[in-house]
């Protein structure tokens, strides 16, 4: 089963829920897809085994063949190519690697070269396997790194994906293909507003989902009212407790010091399984 943990609003406790669930259930592969700011390893303290570069393919112009006709830059929807009378300039950070420029080039002057934009990190902790991606600082495109992380997914294994915040491409890429998505929110106006956005996206994508309310007791009841009206399951509530916040600040998953929560995460996982029809 593939379960992603996402949120819309940042800092609601995605990583905390994903990590505590993974540790409670055991024998899972954990994919940290928040490649802009990967944090799961700071809570898991895994043994790291290896690193691998993540590259994309970007066009390389053979100036000997190019006659500066401008077809490539005319085709490119992302302005990644600019043709001047003397030279074609390539902006790799704008390129989406669609391959179109090489197809339209009448002189066959375009080939491909690797462009490094991030790193994959592989680690483990007992029966938990961790892969996390890291976008290189200054690189704009997170999606190819997320795709690279997801390529490491082991078939037939239980997989937990930690999603980046927001509701646009990085989130969409992470949750695509999930059997279930857990949306972690907090009972505040910001939490609710961003939850609604994430729900709209998941409905379009037809990914089944449920809600975990973190920092319950804080804020107001509107998240609960919304979930009730929309028929969305509130699957778990994690109370607002200073102890949980402090443990998090020190990089300690709270199930380790509050073992009664292990059972609750087990129950959450069972409920997800049932809801996903697995």
């Amino acid at each position: 089963m593939i379960v992603s943990v996402a949120s819309g609003k940042g800092g609601t406790g995605k990583t905390s829920v994903a990590v505590n669930m993974a540790l409670s259930v055991g024998n899972v592969q954990f994919l940290d897809c928040d490649v802009e700011e990967p944090n799961a390893y700071l809570l898991l303290h895994p043994k790291m085994h290896k690193r691998e570069p993540v590259t994309t393919l970007v066009p390389s112009i053979n100036e000997k063949l190019c006659d500066h006709c401008g077809e490539c830059s005319k085709f490119c929807q992302y302005n990644a190519l600019f043709t001047s009378p003397e030279k074609v300039l390539v902006f790799p950070e704008l390129c989406h690697s669609c391959g179109g420029c090489a197809m339209v080039c009448p002189k066959n002057a375009i080939s491909w070269k690797q462009n490094r934009i991030g790193v994959l990190n592989f680690g483990s902790l007992r029966d938990l396997a961790l892969v996390y991606g890291e976008l290189e600082v200054g690189e704009p495109m997170a999606v190819p790194v997320i795709k690279a992380v997801k390529k490491q997914m082991r078939k037939g294994k239980n997989v937990i994906l930690d999603s980046p915040p927001g509701a646009s491409c990085p989130f969409v890429e992470t949750v695509r293909g999930s059997d279930f998505c857990v949306l972690v929110t907090e009972p505040t106006p910001f939490g609710l507003h961003d939850l609604k956005i994430a729900v709209q996206v998941l409905k379009i994508m037809a990914v089944p989902f449920g809600v975990v309310v973190n920092r319950a007791g804080l804020g107001d009841r509107k998240v609960y009212d919304y979930c009730k009206t929309e028929g969305i399951r509130v699957m778990m509530e994690i109370p607002y407790q200073r102890k949980i916040a402090e443990l998090y600040s020190r990089g300690i998953p709270f199930t380790i010091e509050m073992p009664e929560w292990t059972t609750k995460f087990h129950e959450l996982y069972d409920e997800i399984k049932e809801a996903a029809g697995k």
Binding site: N39, G138, R176
Partner: protein, 289 residues
Amino acid sequence: MKQLTVLSGKGGTGKTTLTAALAVLAKNAVVADCDVDAPDLHLLLHPEVIEMQQFKGSKVAVINEDQCVKCGMCKEKCAFDAITSDLKVDAIACEGCGVCAIVCPANAVTLAERISGSAYISKTKYGFMSHAMLHPGEANSGKLVTLVRQNAKILAEKENSDLIIIDGSPGIGCPVIASITGVDAGLVVTEPTLSGIHDLERVLRLLEHFHVAPFVCVNMYDINRDNAEKILRFCGENGVEVVGQIPFSPKVTEAMVNGKSIMEYSPKGAVAKEIENVWQTLCSSALRK
């Protein structure tokens, strides 16, 4: 005119809370909410929309079923897995590159303009605001951020405003880069957690990469004083000015529930006092004319 971007790397550290408070303190600043896929600033500033424009950020492939010969070339050549097995376009996956249109032997594919969101110009109690909303599942948030910033700039010039305060999104990717290029200062809001520190380091490197002057504000510093100390030391060693340390207070959430900035909701509280210090410090350093 000066431009200040509030950013964080890690989500939920208090960017929007701080931006709203600074908007209250700065007289006549234009505020730009550049967290376009999960904007929240309007929940505190209650903008009244004056002008709305559609955002056309990209294109999407459209297959003409009558012309399609079901050869599957489009599916084979698509780099984004955006053509389904029954040869339909998956609009969420499609990045509008146009490869399918050039490989189609039957000329059945065209590219259509796609409306990916809306941009707004609004008025609030504290001045003008430029903001936007990306439609669910749409891409190109970086381009929309650029549009929001352009609108803010036009507003600032028209209104003779000397400051634009930009509320950024979490992370370090395209929307964040679009919200910091060419600004005068980046104010990083962080929290004293291991993740907060980790993300702060990456965001500071991002500011350095784009030659933006960095400033740091530690939010909820008393959640873990040891970590707050570590942040101060780290900033000291790297020559980054720390402009304030805001204590944790349940008043911040209460203010949010009441749809108010902390400066309005609890103007005499410890949080408001420290944010006033932050503002004074910024005025004498980052925003000095």
